[in-house]
Symmetry: C2
Subunit: 336 residues, 2 copies
């Protein structure tokens, strides 16, 4: 691997001069500059990022810690996050946790050991995670630690979505949510409850309007299981509040021969591209994944540059996609 001293020797200058010529900082004669540049080009010199990182005390890299890389919910944000960071000269070090607090802690330590300039982190709910010595921005979920977070405005999104189901005339609505440990579960559930209770729904159907909540894990299998238990006394409308839960619910209805929306209305969460072409189209709340990624990147860059943004939860509004799965009574407003 050709190094700076090789370039300097080839150009007939000291290595300090070569360094300055390459980096563009500090005064260097036009003649020497062109000789250095030419030598570097012809030798195929590329500056050693490990040595530079040691000297400069920064790596121009940031860590991304997500539960897994196959979930569009994370990768859609990650894609634009990566784009924004790359434009700012940073590269991405990725680790997955599978939602295990142990691996999450491990990943955080590994990132710190590698001296990344910052970390974007989808936190599990674990409270035992130790504070990181590098700037951290939370994405998708917030942990409650004193760290800025960028999330979707799930409370209002799911509230509106629920209102949509109510407006469609359904009087027996069930929501399926993920584990309470995740802020996403809590926010979505709160939005659901707010809309339903405001419309007079309660658990006992005292008013003739009934709401139910089933909690499971955030997987298709969890959704399928939850739906199966619901089958004993099926609601009129089901709200699986994550795209994987939607998947699970649809597997179960399919097996059970239940037609959506004819036998059961459905409104989902998330907007993977197949929602549009499934049956009559799945009505859903689409979180602003791209904007969230961009926002998280910007926040982290600010942090890296020494600015101290208030550690707050940034809730970005998403959009309702009104399609066919809520049945005939669905109003056409809000659609885009």
């Amino acid at each position: 691997m050709v190094k700076l001293t090789d370039v300097a020797r080839a150009a007939g200058v000291g290595y300090g001069t070569a360094s300055r010529a390459l980096s563009g900082k500090g005064p260097v004669g036009g003649d020497a500059r062109t000789r250095v540049l030419e030598a570097a080009r012809s030798l195929g010199y590329t500056t050693d990022a490990t040595a530079r990182a040691l000297r400069e005390r920064r790596t121009r890299s940031v860590g991304l810690i997500v539960p897994d890389m196959t979930n569009e919910f994370y990768t859609a944000s990650a894609e634009v996050l990566q784009e924004v960071l790359r434009a700012a000269g940073h590269h991405l070090l990725v680790a997955t946790t599978g939602n295990h607090p142990g691996r999450e802690q491990e990943a955080l330590q590994e990132m710190a050991a590698r001296r990344v300039d910052g970390v974007v982190h989808v936190p599990s709910g674990a409270t035992a995670i130790q504070p990181s010595p590098v700037p951290v921005v939370e994405l998708n979920r917030y942990s409650g630690r004193n760290v800025p977070a960028v999330v979707s405005d799930d409370y209002n999104g799911v509230k509106e979505l629920t209102q949509l189901a109510i407006d469609a005339g359904h009087t027996d609505i069930a929501a399926i949510v993920g584990p309470d440990a995740y802020s996403t579960s809590r926010d979505r559930l709160a939005g659901f409850r707010a809309a339903a209770q405001q419309a007079g729904f309660d658990e006992n159907a005292a008013t003739g309007r009934r709401l139910r909540v089933v909690s499971t894990d955030f997987t298709a299998e969890g959704g399928a299981r939850a739906m199966r238990t619901l089958l004993a006394d099926p609601p009129q409308a089901i709200l699986p509040l994550s795209s994987r839960l939607v998947m699970g619910v649809l597997r179960t209805t399919r097996e059970a021969g239940i037609s959506v929306p004819d036998d059961l209305a459905l409104a989902g969460y998330g907007d993977p591209d197949w929602f549009e072409i499934w049956g009559s189209g799945i009505t859903t709340f689409a979180p602003p994944l791209a904007e969230m990624g961009a926002q998280a990147a910007k926040l982290l860059l600010d942090l890296i540059n020494g600015d101290q943004p208030a550690p707050a939860v940034h809730r970005i509004p998403g959009v309702l996609r009104i399609r066919g799965t809520l049945g005939k009574g669905t109003p056409a407003k809000h659609s885009d």
Copy 2:
């Protein structure tokens, strides 16, 4: 940030001893060892990976270069790739190219500059990419350069898939493929042609059995466009040979009010989870994405360890998923 000399001072030993105690290499007294370990623990010492990388001339990190992070086709491999590499003590540096040869070249250089120990690369078809000074394994596609590659056995997979369509009784079959620059397009197309021609299909329907091929780009929009042009003279069966092309085709048939499989039989490629629950289930060839990721990781680890595997294309067999979209004539064999 606490460093080795801090630990050594706290433990009352020289920093060489501290280094040996921490790394476990070289003789160190039991007493000194425990003092060093204790000091490191209480100070929260974590060895500086940048300094270590400079000295050891390896980073314990590998680069992953993919077109984009939102495509399940890449992330499903990446997930297990990451798993295997992590188990071997390597971490992942990720770059996306958007299939731009320029950004691909740039990413390769960046990886080299960061002195990654190796690179896993989904190559675009560009021939102008310069050889990398670090070990490279190609994934999903092969470029023809002298580099080991791990791909799905698309030729045989698509050949069998096509045979399935033929066995179902369809006599007018069209395939939609991606750009010829990608090995995936060429292999899938070759498999399609092999099966069709062997069964007496040709472009002119001279034998009463007609095959058509439409080439477009590997996006849903490309698939939708291709399907729209096909609508002027619709085939009996359509084979969009990537999951995104399937998505595009289904968008068009939906808009046009064409029922799949009643009006048009379909067999796809890839197996995103929604294929199972779309309509009667999408019959498809599922490439072994997880195995490919694992295999690529193992190959790269061998390369890093100095072994020199023959630079060959490893084709891993996938599996046919026989579901409902090929229509009534579909035989039940081969299913799993």
